[in-house]
Point group: D2
Chain length 359, copies 4
């Protein structure tokens, strides 16, 4: 189904080349003043055509709020919104009407539904993430009132890896370059790699690192809806995502327990009477936040759409060669960053709103 | 909440040292003959005390079916079952009543609920996974009727890594050694490492690799309930799990798209008219199975309970030193394998049962 | 939350005087040819201003489909749609900005949310049912392909009661008069009563009877999601609905079991090998359809908005007198009929799509 | 599915003649002291064999708590419990193994699942309501801490109707007679009727009236999860229930709006600054509690099991005559009262726990 969340839910709809995409964000508390410009700023971070290293498709990506806000404040009723598609170039896709592109969702949609909107990938297009970013921008405003912030950045492109941990970086610098890596030198090398890969008609993957700050202890449900499980679910639902880990993650499996445990230290903050001296755990124990920063990584594959002729099959299972003519990203990482932000914000707000555990 | 799944749901309850744990498995179709011995065989794979490299706690882990099965067959009504706790040694935990052990869930449960069952971790104990294994064993029997199988194995312990891919291994050999690694030589080295770590009073992590075979194209929901997203959610809900990836996963981010795409080849199987020559994708496109094997990895941290004195704090935030006296695993990997099997089976059955997409 | 259903879900949003209302209908199978004119015909049955006995508000109530349909057929992806508000007359409501009208939702929304859109009742307006009717019209088209139909009609207005059971009526005649009662003589008397009540500035309630035909045995979940329980839930979620019963309902409680049991008779239809000679049960046993017609009643109160001055209180709890100036129905029954149709269709399709009980 | 509720959920399992029935009650806040005797007192009110006018089946109906309670207090983890079946007399049902009794769920279960546990109705038996009563008794204890109480009583048996409204009765007298009608004279006549019907080998239906007191304004979700919609859903999920209404319900449809509106009056209670002079609405406006008492009715049919020979068909669709030999109620109303209590408590607690609407 197309609904995400339990207490705060996002339901999305829309295809890449239909009249509009949209969403319904439900469960947002009443009385929150919404800053529409902040929403559009997040949209601009995901928007195609934002820089030389992203696709040339032009979309205004204006979020049109239809309900749930009255005189600038949320009312507690569902927030419905749409985002019109404008620069569609649907004819670009006529040659793909019957084609199954390799490592795309063309074949699987066809096998599942027997019918598909072939234009730009239809529902499987990453254009759907525009709706997530809009909803996430609202969630981030609600979280901000609780002192909670979400911030993610590009930490790897191809084999170029940012080798410093998040707490050694200036996260305010994420948007200071086109690739959204807060280290200027690494960013330069990442951009050079993306430009080279683009010239080769190829694509390259990478990693986004996300950080959630300001969570009080107690957020997350201890069994299936562990904070990390909800984050993993959210992140793997993003197009092209291939992996998730948190805290020391995959890098921690080679260590000893004695190296990984986080010793407690006393704190003067009454809301979090104990802190930890290290944070190998990534801010979560038993599925529940412990008051430290939550940090995680999301792996993105190199996108499947190459700017080269491709030999493949059509829906009568005959061999064909296609030359993709759409406008595509050589590397989705810069545009994936606001999507990771959005999904992290939606998960966090959902779990924060679900907390009412003590009598 | 303590319910997993949409169409096939598992609701679990129970603490490590209460009278019993149990579950309700709902949505299982009627008319399936259940093999109780197969269920107990899966239980035996997770059971403590099964080998020299696992904890010495002795539990029969007998699954007592209470409903949903009549004359050996499922009836379509919910399958309720309990697993009695027998070898509880609750007094072992008296010294921990007021203690927050580092990197355990003691502190987070206390901050969330204000009260906790301290005995053996209570609800946060991995003993809860016994319920998952029982339910998963039933799910595996239903899947077997559809030609679908789930198999996982230990592919890394500490820095000892099985370097061959799953399709180059004999997965029938998973249970031929105590660590559940299908390569005998690697298994020997893993076991030696676990024994050494245990002698040092320390713990070590690792990786489980899972494989799902026999899925027809079309399983998985394209938006939030992508097959990989549900798997990630399921795996990160397991105690000590820190990461998940599928297909080429984190290892694929450094490659080019041209190296990663899986070219189609024609197939004579009418249910899957196209196959792929390679399977970098891990059997999923756009969240939907494409008919190839689904494979994935789950990272497990070294468990936090060391067999050494530990300095920490109590629930009045005073410094204390504790000597854990419970019986613990130096490495959870061998016992995590059947849990990964179970969660993979539950996810798969849930999504297979949800398929009714065409008119 | 604003989502209805399990397998086929409708999520709605929108206020009476915002830019638009809308919905997301998810879970509709792929490949269904949609007749847009049939959708608009259902909309016209609910539309204000359709006859002399309904409110004079004029709304085109055009359903704008935004997704989920490609070249006239459903694709299996969510169907998003909006209905623009046009004839809003928001200024009519300025005098109500701070007023709690008796027996309206003004006070309860204020107490729950602390803020409300006062214009025309905001989210609490029955205008929201336009979205349900649009979604229900789509559901009815899917059901029609399965041989299932839903039909409801006005069976009581005030104390004027249609005294014949549904099977003695020509249900094709429902729309032959303004009050949607299939008996011409009773309809005349109902209309006369509504006109009289309207002249008095008052309102009157009534009953809608609904019939679902063509259900095969086996639809409905036996425990909480009994077919009748889902219908009751759906019907009581409609504005102004006060009661629900099915089969002999409240009228059956005075009878003896020996009078009420429905004896089986053999049938030549292999899909329903037994029929019943009578149908006091209303087509359901143990929450599951038995293949007979499902029939039920929904009670609607006289709406609270009178065309008279009303003494009440404002949001500072001071006494005020208000003269409602909006345009209102003296009797909602004629316009409630398509809403009951819609909700019955959504419940039925949801439960039909959930059926996969045997292996 | 067999799970009820959103924030506070009850999952049930078990058949009439299996080893045990049980449930998992999830979402109960931590720290509530549970009175086990109060739970057993509610069980005793539903128990068979409690008086001369109920079935002679003897069941201790001991609730065995398995989890979620530590040292007498809830821990916030799921409360699992079982109720063993003891006095099963399964052989009583051998003659019914292949028989479809009229107006029972035998045929519909068979058509849905192809297999059924024929003993005592299996899962369709009203014995399942024992689980609801146990869970409801816990919910009532949590509600009591919030000043909320639930009370229901028999208001009609056959054509004998208690003609005074709930607020003119002494609800403390509900259990002062076997039929659970708080008016002694009416109760006597009801009991006489049940005894006469029983002598005739017949059954008779009736009505339960329920009252929820102490709800603050703001409980209930305004769209589909209206308080009345959730109550209707809960009540129609009870075996033999045929109808639900609230406030003036079906009796109000013949009135004028001017007679039905509830005028506000000022109140000195800061939590409910306005009260209403009358309460025709039944304490709910727009799906949300207004702070007045919520009252409702539930219609129960005469149960289908007669103590007479019955002509019917078997599962090869051949005519048979059966003589029911089980032990049955001539009137379920006395035992339905605690079930209505339980479901009302579960609905109320679920919606109260879901409230977090303002920032």
């Amino acid at each position: 189904m197309n609904t995400f969340g339990n207490k705060v839910t996002l339901t999305t709809f829309g295809e890449s080349h239909g009249p509009a995409l949209g969403g319904v964000l439900d469960g947002i508390p009443a009385g929150v003043a919404l800053d529409m410009e902040q929403i559009q700023r997040q949209m601009a971070r995901r928007r195609p055509g934002q820089s030389a290293i992203t696709t040339a498709r032009k979309e205004a990506d204006m979020v049109e709020l239809l309900s749930g806000v009255f005189e600038g404040r949320t009312t507690g009723t569902p927030i419905g919104f749409i985002i019109r598609n404008s620069d569609q170039h649907s004819a670009d896709y006529d040659n793909l009407r019957h084609v199954f592109r390799p490592s795309h969702a063309d074949y699987t949609y066809f096998m599942k539904y027997g019918v598909r909107d072939h234009r730009g990938g239809g529902r499987s297009s990453a254009r759907e993430t525009a709706v997530r970013v809009a909803a996430g921008a609202i969630a981030m405003q609600v979280l901000a009132k609780m002192g909670i912030s979400v911030c993610s950045y590009t930490s790897q492109v191809g084999d170029i890896c940012l080798d410093r941990p998040y707490h050694a970086l200036d996260l305010a610098a994420v948007d200071s370059n086109a690739v959204r890596c807060p280290d200027a030198d690494t960013a330069r090398r990442m951009i050079a790699l993306i430009e080279q890969v683009k010239r080769e008609g190829d694509t390259v993957g990478g990693v986004v690192t996300g950080v959630i700050r300001g969570l009080r202890p107690g957020v997350g449900e201890p069994m299936f809806d562990k904070l990390q499980a909800r984050l993993a679910y959210a992140m793997l639902s993003i197009n092209a995502a291939k992996g998730f880990d948190y805290g020391m993650g995959f890098d921690g499996v080679g260590r000893r327990g004695s190296q990984m445990n986080d010793a407690f230290v006393r704190s003067s903050d009454p809301g979090r009477p104990l802190r930890t001296a290290t944070n190998h755990s990534g801010g979560i124990q038993g599925g529940i936040s412990n008051g430290e920063d939550v940090y995680f990584r999301v792996a993105f594959k190199p996108v499947a759409t190459l700017l080269r002729p491709v030999s493949t099959f059509d829906d009568e299972f005959e061999a064909v060669t296609v030359q993709p003519r759409g406008r595509h990203d050589a590397c989705v990482l810069p545009r994936a960053v606001p999507v990771v932000d959005a999904m992290a914000a939606l998960v966090t707000l959902d779990l924060v709103e679900s907390v009412s555990d003590k009598v």
